[in-house]
Symmetry: D2
Subunit: 163 residues, 4 copies
């Protein structure tokens, strides 16, 4: 039985933040997802679509509609969405309207380019969750698989928790 | 609803290999799993049991019986076992006899102490799989969630593949 | 002959920048210099003084006077100063007035907390330079030992070059 | 005044050790020196010659004669030699016969491919030392610039110390 291919949609967020010395600031840069999957020796079939490069606080309703349309139109039924953490749960609500697909939203609290980041672990969770979980929207952060409609980010504590 | 706690059993393998200059060789060392979970900002309840530190080629039938007994006796129903990759599928067969628990075997092709290792991604997969998959034995390597009884390691290709 | 102890003065700069998720921005954080020296297995006697945590564009004349006074008053004759790169050469001019000490200014173009950073290499250069070079002010960046009074930062090119 | 170019001769040693899963062991692999210099944003002119890939316990008199000949014949007067640490001081004695060049021997106690390695710091020390020190043979390990003829490796302590 062939392995079900995974669609990875990148939208930006902390996970892809890079530091630019010439600007003395960091910005969301070229996604590191493909490199991270190569380092992680992923042999599972996947396809990466870099849809946008935004801080999730800047995502508009139109952006979310675009993310939804891109996923709905794709042939894959297993989907990972990398996303800023601050409004991840808002996007989860929009994506919940897509039937028959297992969609996992994931991000990072420290940029993937850091030596110590939660990005590779979180992305691994998302890859497994989209294969093992039933259709619906899920969020994999802080070591937990959360129902995407029953979770919130506790910004002070710096972690996600069930509602 | 409280999150279901996860038991992490470490048995050794490449994932925990450290380099010892005084010996001019590397050996399996103190497990890096707890540090890796801390860096990954895991807030999910878990408990780590360092059961043994062996290359999986050295694991005996008695070792496997011990791993099985430790898991069967534990209160947790979600279990991650870090393990050398060469005989991971043999241990999977032994653990398949445990009813009512979701057990995930996981390891790494490059030591977790390497700057570029598949360890954090793989461990993330295992954490998600033991939460999202139904009871049974699973292996999460190379980006795939494999049925633990229907997978083999292709040593030359350096990856796991379905049987 | 006992090894000459080294004074390390930290002033901030990109080298110590950390990312803070709760703020969605990064700031200069607790210095990573001591950890970096431990990872680098430094057995040479040294002492770290965290003098300030500033972006070098924010350093005032008073700040520079303080850095100068702290170095002049210290018993060590070998000194490493970690510093933001944008105004490193201005501080070099101020420190040039201190006689009889080998002072090396050093920083990084990517934060030390990044997986790929010039910080450990640059700091190693500074440690060697303050031991091997004659008294005066030096800058060790981009693989070169520069006379601190004959170098400038080429911001567009992202590197230091001789005047 | 143009910057004096640096010759980097690699001979093997722990610094270049890689882990090979298919063999369940590690071996000295393709040198990581060039990658490390790129990550460290080295703009100083340099040239890397991969002369051999040996554990320094396996180096013969002929190997040392070859290293000496390669350095003596090169146009550069600033030379860095990456080398296993166990017999680094023996090679230092052989290279001391080369007049008019500043030669720095350097290695690592943990492989450069490890997330926590002394390799980048040590290599930075060597780069600075070959520019700032007078002609002769030097060893840069454990944060110190050692006279290459007045140092020994304390294997149990895992560090170099003056004789």
């Amino acid at each position: 039985m062939p392995l079900a291919p995974i669609l990875v949609v990148t939208t930006g967020g902390t996970i892809d933040k890079q530091y630019f010395d010439a600007l003395s600031e960091y910005q969301i840069a070229e996604s590191v997802i493909e490199k991270l999957l190569r380092v992680s020796r992923v042999a599972h079939p996947f396809r990466v679509v870099e849809l946008m490069r935004k801080d999730s606080l800047e995502l508009t309703g139109e952006d979310r509609a675009l993310i939804k349309a891109a996923i709905a139109a794709a042939p894959e039924t297993r989907v990972v969405v990398t996303h800023g953490t601050d409004t991840m749960t808002e996007t989860a609500k929009v994506l919940a309207a897509i039937p028959g697909k297992t969609i996992v939203l994931v991000g990072a609290l420290a940029p993937a380019r850091f030596a110590e980041s939660d990005a590779p672990f979180n992305l691994g969770m998302a890859f497994a969750c989209c294969q093992a979980a039933s259709p619906g929207v899920w969020i994999t952060m802080n070591g937990s698989v959360f129902d995407g409609l029953k979770v919130r980010k506790d910004r002070e504590a710096g972690k996600f928790a069930e509602i």
